[in-house]
Structures are given as structure tokens and as C-alpha cells.
């Protein structure tokens, strides 16, 4: 069935709640309202208040409570209304969700899924366009996944809900309704930790995830017209990351561009570059190029297009890298 990403996530939540009654959904406005992006639409009507909780307005409360729920046998799929509001829940994520397994030497675990609508480019208000993967990837014990299409969204969410550890599920807001594609009716999982080759190519490796995969596809097409063959890798999972696929591709092309909308300094591209230079230095024909947000506060919507990487900037980076 053809569906857009918001529908794919919604369908997955229905299926997971039907097959496992320990799955519960909690967050601000996720019930009666169906979520501010309508991603949880209909769940309240079908499953009711005990399993679909319109929570008080408290991010720390939501995540802290979800940690307890998860540790004692429920499977909470909690929501941060916008990723930019996760900071006061960070405490519970890094100090508890990420640590409980280690602190109890495996006696406890926190199988919590936290859905975080992230990404910008939709002219939303301040704090509504963040891309905060760095602060989660940096801290061990939490998985971070990020779909770039409706198909990935459904399979990655199902895998996240099955996972025994805390999974942060990044939802690219600007892709919620950007396009539709075929999504299987039946349940399926996409393995966490495996990248997806969007396109084979020989001249340059382009690495992206989430909303930037969508934007990069256009740039890759433009580059092909310039005669540059790009191998496009969509990471899908940032923690754990599929390093093998990255090394394999870069060894083949010798050139690499990494795209993300998070800030440049200590953005995940920095880690990817470091890993490539550690292992593939002798294969490299050009410096690794990063196309990222700038090291500034994300501007208010009027001028946001100067902040987020766009097709033009990505294309320029591909060309410069290919012709270095």
C-alpha cells in the first residue's frame, strides 16, 4: 500500500499495540489530538486511556516515567513533541535509560522507545528544527535510528520496539508527508545497525540519513548529470553504525562527502571522517568533505534556508570532492 511516512509510523504503532499489550504510547497531545503531527491518530480511540496517555506537559516526567515503565515490564513508546524540547529529559536518558543495564550487570534493562520528531526546513518556530543526534550518540547505551522513507520508518520502528535496549527513533518532520511509497501491510523489521545503499556508484561516496537523504538524492541526480557517479549510503542507524559498509564504499571510491543538518563541530560527520582516516587513509584521493549546519544557534524561520544544507551546497561538495 502506498503511504507517506506519518501513515507508516501510525500503521506500525497500531500493529505493535495489537500484537503486544505491553506496548503503550505516552506523550503530550498523543491521545485525543492524535499528536501534533497526527502520527498517533486513532490510537486513543482504539486502545483507550490506559494504553494511550495524554501526559502532563513535562518532558522529564514523560521519559523518567517511561524508564520505570520499561524496567518493570511495559514497552513504552514515548514521544517528545519536538526534539528541541528533549533537554530536560536528557538526564533520565543518559543517567538512567542508558546505564541501568550496565549498573546492574544485566539484571535490569530499559526497553524504551523514544520518538523524537527532528529536522528543520519547515519554517517552524525556534527550538522546532533541531538535529541533536550527537548528544545521544556520544553517550553509550542508547541506540539511535533515523528513517529516510516510509518503508524504513515502519520497519525501523518495529525493530526499535522489539529491541531490548533504549532506542531513540528520530522522525524527520519534513518527510512526514513529503512523498509516498509502497509499504508492506504485514509486519517486518529493518535490522538496527545496518546501512542501506540507496544507489551504487564509483566516483564519490555520499553518506546521509533522515531528511538529508531525501535532499541528497536530488544532488546525487544532479551530479550524475555532471558525469559523476555517486555511491549514496543512507545510514538508517547511527548508533550502532554500520562502519563496514562505510569503509567498503570509501575503499572503492576513494572520496567521501558526509551530509547532516546538525552543527559542524562534533557533528556525526566528524566521527565518520575520523574513522575513515583511521582505516582507509591510503585509499583516499581527496579530503573528506562535510556539508552540515553551521556552528550557530539555528536561526528563526525567515532565514533558515541559510542554515540547513540544501541540494546546491551538497552538489557543490560532491563536485569539489570528485574533481579534487
Amino acid at each position: 500500500m502506498k503511504m507517506h511516512m506519518a501513515q507508516a509510523i501510525n500503521t506500525c504503532l497500531f500493529q505493535e499495540m495489537e500484537r503486544d499489550e505491553s506496548v503503550i504510547v505516552m506523550g503530550e497531545d498523543v491521545g485525543i489530538d492524535g499528536g501534533v503531527f497526527r502520527v498517533t491518530e486513532g490510537l486513543y480511540k482504539k486502545f483507550g486511556r490506559p494504553r494511550v496517555i495524554d501526559s502532563p506537559l513535562s518532558e522529564a516526567g514523560i521519559v523518567g516515567t517511561a524508564v520505570g515503565m520499561a524496567a518493570l515490564g511495559l514497552k513504552p513508546v514515548a514521544e517528545m513533541q519536538f526534539q528541541g524540547f528533549v533537554y530536560n529529559a536528557y538526564h533520565h536518558l543518559v543517567q538512567h535509560a542508558a546505564r541501568l543495564r550496565n549498573r546492574t550487570r544485566g539484571m535490569f534493562n530499559v526497553p524504551l522507545v523514544l520518538r523524537l520528531p527532528y529536522s528543520g526546513g519547515i519554517h517552524a518556530l525556534e527550538h522546532h528544527g533541531e538535529s541533536l543526534e550527537t548528544i545521544f550518540i556520544h553517550f553509550p547505551g542508547m541506540k539511535v535510528v533515523c528513517p529516510s522513507s516510509p518503508y524504513e520508518a515502519k520497519g525501523l520502528l518495529a525493530a526499535s520496539i522489539s529491541d531490548e535496549d533504549t532506542v531513540l527513533y528520530f522522525e524527520p518532520k519534513r518527510l512526514y508527508r513529503a512523498f509516498k511509497e509502497d509499504v508492506p501491510e504485514e509486519r517486518y523489521e529493518i535490522e538496527i545497525g545496518k546501512a542501506h545503499k540507496v544507489k551504487e556508484g564509483n566516483d564519490v561516496t555520499l553518506i546521509s540519513w533522515g531528511a538529508m537523504t531525501y535532499v541528497s538524492k536530488g544532488a546525487v541526480e544532479d551530479a550524475e548529470k555532471e558525469g559523476i557517479s555517486v555511491e549514496h549510503i543512507d545510514l538508517r542507524s547511527l548508533a550502532p553504525c554500520d562502519w563496514d559498509s562505510i569503509h567498503e564504499s570509501v575503499r572503492k571510491t576513494g572520496r567521501c562527502v558526509v551530509v547532516h543538518e546538525a552543527k559542524k563541530t562534533l557533528g556525526f560527520a566528524a566521527e565518520i571522517s575520523a574513522r575513515i582516516t583511521e582505516k582507509d587513509l591510503l585509499s583516499l584521493e581527496a579530503p573528506i568533505k562535510r556539508v552540515t549546519g553551521w556552528d550557530i544557534i539555528i536561526p528563526y524561520p525567515k532565514f533558515e534556508e541559510y542554515y540547513y544544507p540544501d541540494q546546491k551546497r551538497i552538489l557543490k561538495a560532491i563536485i569539489e570532492t570528485a574533481r579534487f
Binding site: E28, D29, G31, I32, D33, G34, V36, D54, S55, P56, L57, S58, E59, A60, G61, G84, F85, Y87, N88, H123, A124, L125, E126, H127, H128, K264, W294, D295, I296, I297, P299, Y300, P301, K302, F303, E304, Y306, Y307
Partner: protein, 352 residues
């Protein structure tokens, strides 16, 4: 005696003028006619501006906007009850308050048109920049009040928030610090019944929000937030006593958000037309009109003049905001007091 009561508390509800215009003379604040006139004009201006912003958003001339129709009595009444030395800490739904404090109205348009320049507020307005994250202003106002106290200024801070904000830890941190540090802080909670879609009954199991103050060692009052006379009186009493070095106060105003949470919200999903109608009958502007008529201030000619004045003010603000030329490079220039070499280079790359 093995069991003895160690705490007792209560919360009063205050209403100066009821919905039908009956005024409790023992509570009626003595407000000069000149101030009453100003209050009415400001309420009409706020509503005119608010409706204009909605229209601008719908035609793509503004981004997401958080409307304030129905809550004018609180922002206008409170701002007239505080002195020029006090500091206010508004929420995003009270951006009009910056104009009341002296900032040109077009700046408020800039905020919602997606430009940081809208918050380029001169400190002389003594109004703290609004924030989008919920409840963060509460502890800031407590810290601000402590600063005023330590500097020996006879001034208080008045911090605004919604019912939803009382669920965040920061609200409780702030109340606790205010009680412990005895800061001159007045917490004004506009209980407009919903935090986006979530009703107050799912926000708190307390009967009132006001009673939360008792747990932190100070007084909580509940009052009619759709009667500007009540708002004026209750805030004035609270802020006067806070300024005199007495304890902080929490005021819960019962009100209603007539419109959507923001232009991205559809309130028909979570509330009934009947409910909206119930509150329409308690409209703060209409109620105040009745009072002003009794005072011999309001008549139809007056109304016409006030409406025209408001329309002109708003049109001028829209024009000025739409003519405003901002420099996108400013997104780099205010990261630090002095721009780093790295940022200079990034800025160059961003605008090449």
C-alpha cells in the same frame, strides 16, 4: 495525642465583577478614568493585532502564530497593575505585552515573521525575552527577583505561564526557590483550560493550581481572569506586597483560549462548540465595556474611535514589519560577544 493536624490551608477565589456586570464594591479597585480608558484601548488593540496576525499567517505573511484572544484581561490588567520598575516575564502568548511596556508593535510582528530582531528589546522596558520551551521563565523570574532584591531595588518580577507550565519541573523548582529565598516574585498562571489539547484535569489532580503555592510556603489565589478589574486588583495587591519585601504569591487566573493553541492546531479535535460559546459569553472585552459604560467612558462613538485607532496602529505595525530589512548574516554575529575566526569563515561560506 498520636495524630495531630500539622498543616491546614485554603485558597480563595476572587471576582470583582461577575459575568453580568455586578461589581463587588468592597473589592472594586480605585482606577483613575484615564487608566480605565488606556486599559480598554489596549485590550482592543491586542485583539485587533491578534486577529490581524491570524489573517497574516493564513495568507503566508507570517509563520506559526500563537493567538491570545480571550486572555486580554490578563496581559493588559497585569501590565497596568505593575510599576515601571517591576520586571515582567511573559510567555509567547503574551508577546503583545512588550508593546504595552513600550516596545514598538512592529517588533512583535517580527517575532512571528521569523526574525530574532523582534526580541531586540531595550532593557528599559523591563520585560524579559519570551521563550518557546515551556516553564523556563519561572526560575528566571525568581533569579531576576533575587538580583533586584540584592541590588536594593524596590521592584518585583511578575512571571506568566499557562496551566501546562505548572507540570514542568521548572515551575516547581521556581516556586520552591522563591519560597526559600523569599524573592519578590508574583507567579501569574493563566489557566486557559488546555495545554494544546490536554485538559487541566489531565495536567494535575489538584483541585486548583493556586493551592500548589501552599506546599512551597506562600499564598495562592484563584481569580477570574476574564474580568480585568479582578486581574488589576489581584496582581496589584500581590506585586505591591512582593515589592515591599514580603513573600512571593501565586495567582491562578481562570480564563479560556478562544482560538487554537497555534495556527498549526485544530481545536475542534478536543473541545466542543458549546464550551467555546460558554466562554464567548464571558468575553473580557465585552464585560469591561459594560463597566466603562456605567462610568460614562464608553459609548458607541468612543468605541468607533477606539477601533479606528487600533486598526491604524496595527496597520502601521504590519507595514513597518513587512518593510523591515534584516541582515541574515546576523545569525552569525551574536553567537559570542566577538565573532571567532572559525565563524567568520563559516559565515563567508554560508553566503558565498
Amino acid at each position: 495525642m498520636p495524630v495531630k493536624r500539622v498543616f491546614e490551608g485554603s485558597v480563595d477565589y476572587v471576582q470583582v465583577m461577575d459575568k453580568d456586570g455586578k461589581v463587588d464594591k468592597s473589592l472594586e479597585p480605585k482606577i483613575p478614568n484615564e487608566t480605565l480608558d488606556r486599559m480598554y484601548r489596549l485590550m482592543v488593540q491586542q485583539r485587533t493585532w491578534d486577529r490581524k496576525c491570524l489573517a497574516l499567517q493564513r495568507t503566508g505573511r507570517m509563520y506559526t502564530y500563537a493567538p491570545c484572544e480571550g486572555q486580554e484581561a490578563i496581559s493588559v490588567g497585569a501590565s497596568q497593575a505593575v510599576s515601571n520598575n517591576d520586571w515582567i516575564f511573559p510567555t509567547y502568548r503574551e508577546s503583545f505585552m512588550y508593546h504595552i511596556r513600550g516596545a514598538p508593535l512592529y517588533m512583535m510582528n517580527l517575532i512571528w515573521m521569523g526574525l530574532e530582531e523582534g526580541l531586540k528589546l531595550d532593557k528599559k522596558y523591563r520585560a524579559f525575552p519570551l521563550a518557546i520551551p515551556i516553564a523556563t521563565q519561572h526560575p528566571h523570574a525568581v533569579g531576576g527577583a533575587y538580583a533586584l532584591k540584592l541590588k536594593g531595588e524596590k521592584a518585583a518580577t511578575v512571571v506568566f505561564g499557562g496551566d501546562g507550565s505548572t507540570s514542568e519541573g521548572e515551575f516547581h523548582d521556581a516556586m520552591n526557590f522563591a519560597g526559600v529565598l523569599q524573592t519578590p516574585t508574583v507567579f501569574v498562571i493563566s489557566n486557559n483550560q488546555y495545554a494544546i489539547s490536554v485538559p487541566v484535569k489531565w495536567q494535575t489532580a489538584s483541585e486548583t493550581i493556586a493551592q500548589k503555592a501552599l506546599a512551597y510556603g506562600f499564598k495562592g489565589i484563584q481569580a477570574d481572569g476574564n474580568d480585568i478589574l479582578t486581574v488589576y486588583k489581584v496582581v496589584k495587591d500581590a506585586v505591591d506586597s512582593a515589592r515591599e519585601g514580603k513573600v512571593p504569591v501565586l495567582i491562578e487566573f481562570i480564563t479560556y483560549r478562544m482560538g487554537a493553541h497555534t495556527t498549526a492546531d485544530d481545536p475542534t479535535k478536543y473541545r466542543s462548540d458549546d464550551e467555546v460559546e460558554y466562554w464567548r459569553e464571558r468575553d473580557p472585552i465585552t464585560r469591561f465595556q459594560g463597566y466603562l459604560k456605567e462610568k460614562g467612558i464608553w459609548n458607541e462613538d468612543y468605541e468607533k474611535e477606539v477601533q479606528e485607532e487600533a486598526k491604524k496602529l496595527v496597520e502601521e505595525a504590519v507595514q513597518k514589519a513587512e518593510d523591515y530589512k534584516a541582515d541574515p548574516k546576523d545569525m552569525f554575529r551574536y553567537t559570542f560577544a566577538h565573532m571567532t575566526k572559525d565563524l567568520e569563515e563559516q559565515m563567508k561560506e554560508a553566503f558565498e
